[in-house]
Subunit: 108 residues, 2 copies
DNA sequence: AAATATACCTTGACAGGCGAGGTATATATA
DNA sequence: TATATATACCTCGCCTGTCAAGGTATATTT
């Protein structure tokens, strides 16, 4: 259990939305990207990733379609919706506020 | 549901340890203090607070004793242990790392 | 032939948060 | 006098996000 695991709980959806902000992507790629961005120190567990996709799609924050790969494994691509963008911006603001709050409360 | 609720999940124990770092205290006072420090924008729910006390005491991070109030409701005071101080310092380092990580992953 | 990488998925357990409910003492208010 | 409010503690059981474990399929490398 990596030290950061518990503390990132609740940010999974925002992390996904951030990745989809500029281009469509699919699960495997998103997770590889996260590993690269964090220098290998963090990755989403597959079950976590896919359950987050379900929630986000259910909520209308993303939509999905099958890629047209003629070779290799099939890919389900995700697109961020207008609602998803709004949600992401709100989540970012919430994160800024939460960061402040936690910093304040951890002062001794 | 306050906007920050989910994002602070996992920090309850650290928030309590921070409060106990310089002086013993009791549940009701700790919660009032949190409300004051955050300008009323955050409070621990009682069930959350007391279950965190159980976990922390079970883990040896705090110990407790009954106050000797001669009037008013009884108070259970908590003391942070040496282990609790070590844990708190570790939690703070983890938080710094997590903060960095999340900031990185939320960049678009 | 077997291992590895790519790529998707589900089930069920676990842990922390918390709504709802309960107990008791003391003070302020109607 | 009754009742509301503040102080102060507690438990039970549900909800939700995480994730270990397991599964499927295709392509490439060894």
């Amino acid at each position: 259990m990596p030290l950061t695991a518990d503390l990132i709980r609740g940010h999974t959806e925002s992390i996904i939305l951030a990745h989809l902000f500029h281009q469509d992507s699919y699960g495997y790629e998103i997770n590889k990207s996260i590993q690269e961005k964090t220098g290998g120190s963090y990755e989403l567990k597959e079950a976590t990733l896919y359950s987050a996709f379900r929630r986000l799609e259910q909520a209308g924050a993303i939509s999905s379609y099958w890629g047209d790969e003629t070779t290799g494994a099939r890919r389900r691509y995700y697109t961020i919706t207008a609602l998803g963008r709004t949600l992401f911006e709100q989540n970012k603001r919430d994160w800024q506020a939460a960061k402040q709050l936690i910093d304040t409360l951890l002062e001794i």
